[in-house]
Amino acid sequence: MAVVKSSFKKTKMMSAVLPYVYLLPAFLIMGVITFYPLIYQVIISFTNFESKHLLLGLKSPDLEFIGLKNYIDIFTAALPVENFNFFRVLEFNFWWALSNVILHVPAGVLIATLLNTEGLWFKRLYRAAYILPVVVPPLVVATVWTNIFDERYGAMNQLLTNISMTLFGGTGPVYIRWFEDVKPPIPGFLPGAPLTLAYYAMMIANFWLGWPFMSVVATGALQSIPKDLYEAASIDGATGSQQFWGITVPLLRPAMIPAAVYGFTLSFNLFNFVFFMTGGGPARSTELLVTFAYNLVRNLRWYGVAAAFAVIIFGVALVVFLITNRITRATQNYQEA
């Protein structure tokens, strides 16, 4: 009896310690490679850290603590960088992510609905082919689309030339400088952050890249909607459109909202694609927070400013997260669910 009791006590003590044992490896590793660097980043952000301090780091004799100067410089556009205005970049960044999701989600749902039609031929072929954009490396996607929008050889201008000549009786070739023109085609569309042609070119290219994922998510959700619902609805005399809005859309929502949130964060930080396609140009009109941060580290090598900028990005991301988390409640745990 006593043996049982002591082993019971032992297991109880064990189970109190056990979760921490399971967490230990992750926290050891993250402590060294994540948390320490994050704290280091905050410290660096208050200094004038540059290339010359690389070797000695914080022990460098001429490293100065300059307080909030880096932050103030970023917010007041006092950095000696051409065409940089933090709030314009921030506004553009939000608009960029939002406008992408607004286009990708409905397109994904509609195309998934199309592919889900009973008895459609070659369904599997289409499903396999439609996912291809997701798997092509971003650099390749960006290079191909840069080519498509090339002013002289690009397919887009050739297509527009054909359209203008055949339909509108145009005489000369269409010659749009997609990536150089700084004049916004629709002035005043987004007050404070003019959208250049490069933005529209990027939107078209990213549309190609973005809807397939949404369509895959929607397909999965569509297939889990019981068919009886539609049968019951049609017995009750609901039309196709009533069924779509009354059954399909509400039942897709639980799957599509997290997907949209995921897409938003993805577009918000879409470094590779933007960096390769426009490099943030022309005149930094398509710069995202992440591409500018990269520029600060890799090209300008102002590590102090870059650290301050990263801390600001973190703050922005936190706000975005708090908003989106309200929507998805992704951190709910098993017991609460």
């Binding site: 280091y40 039609t117 490396p137 909607i225 470094f271």
Partner: protein, 336 residues
């Protein structure tokens, strides 16, 4: 006229508002609607395939110059570019096999390490109630908010301080832990920042929180009855973890690993920022290296061939695992 408009509108409405349950019933699709939908599906297919065909056609060309005419169907099928890329991928003395090995070691290493560490943490968060649970969970997920670029500055600076140097007196100093006795700078032998190992560390830093999040979401959806049954049968927590939870989580482990693998395979930001020696270059970096400042200087056929080589393995596995991947990505957030 209005009647005709009405029918046209009806057609569109009916196309867009089809029964979407996807289970095949007895009713078959009327031919006219089948054809209409086929036209629509083919148009989408064409727009999807257009850039892909463009790259494939270019990779099969023997000319380095960019085609001035739009060409989507290859006129010639030449494997010159592929052969050149495999023989001598860059101007630097680095072979294709070395690039492939670097890419593979980096992606595999980061994926395996991150997964191994993450799964036990995910288990703890999903199954135990303990003090500080919420706080620790927030701590783990906080780095998820930071884009990889955001964490690159401190990692660059910190890893750069770990250096192995050969001092004048022949001794070896490991900075920042030991220094040369005579205070001299010494000859640089190894810089952690400028090595695959260092980049691997930096990549793990961003891969780990994602893996924990993704696995926890999945573990939450596994019913606890099995574990409870095992506990009644006398299994302790460790046995339950290894013999019940891990086997059940294998599909999600695979998906999490593969998602990470794709990301690391295409990783560019950290590798390009950290690595400077051609011997450490990865396939993705080589690809970027080929695209210079000026479009006319790019060896287009070789670039395209390289692009196909980099994309193909990932594409094949992605299509094969498509359902699991999307299911895996959404389980974490959909439930509840």
């Amino acid at each position: 006229m209005t009647a005709q408009n009405q029918t046209q509108k009806n057609i569109i409405v009916r196309i867009l508002n089809m029964n979407t349950s996807g289970q095949s019933g007895g009713r078959s699709l009327p031919l006219w609607r089948q054809l209409l939908l086929q036209v629509l599906a083919l148009a989408i297919l064409a727009s999807v395939m257009f850039p892909i065909m463009y790259i494939i056609t270019m990779s099969l060309s023997s000319s380095e110059r960019r085609p001035s005419q739009l060409q989507l169907i290859p006129k010639e099928i030449s494997f010159v570019a592929y052969k050149q890329v495999l023989d001598r991928p860059t101007g630097n003395p680095v072979t294709f096999n070395e690039l492939l090995r670097n890419s593979f070691v980096l992606s595999m290493g980061v994926g395996v390490v991150a997964l191994g560490i993450a799964v036990s943490a995910a288990y703890a968060f999903s199954r135990f109630k303990f003090k500080m649970r919420e706080v620790l969970m927030v701590l783990v997920f906080i780095p998820l908010l930071m884009p990889a670029v955001g964490l690159s500055t401190p990692l660059y600076l910190l890893l750069n301080q770990v250096q192995v140097k050969e001092c004048k007196d022949g001794a070896t100093a490991i900075l920042p832990f030991t220094e040369c006795a005579d205070g001299s700078k010494g000859k640089l032998q190894f810089n952690l920042r400028d090595s695959l190992f260092g980049v691997g560390i930096a990549m793990t830093a961003s891969a780990l929180p994602f893996a924990v999040w993704n696995l926890k979401g999945y573990l939450d959806t596994i019913p606890r009855e099995l574990e409870e049954a095992a506990a009644i049968d006398g299994a302790d927590a460790n046995q339950t973890f290894w013999q019940i939870v891990i086997p059940l989580a294998v599909p999600q482990l695979a998906v999490t690993f593969f998602l990470g693998f794709i990301g690391h395979w295409q990783e560019f930001v950290l590798t390009w920022l950290f690595l400077s020696q051609p011997k450490d270059y990865t396939l993705a970096m080589t690809l970027y290296n080929m695209t210079g400042q000026y479009a006319n200087a790019i060896p287009w056929n070789r670039f395209a061939a390289m692009a196909v080589i980099v994309a193909l393995p990932v594409a094949v596995v992605y299509i094969a695992l498509q359902k699991n991947i999307v299911g895996g990505l959404t389980t974490g957030s959909v439930k509840g």
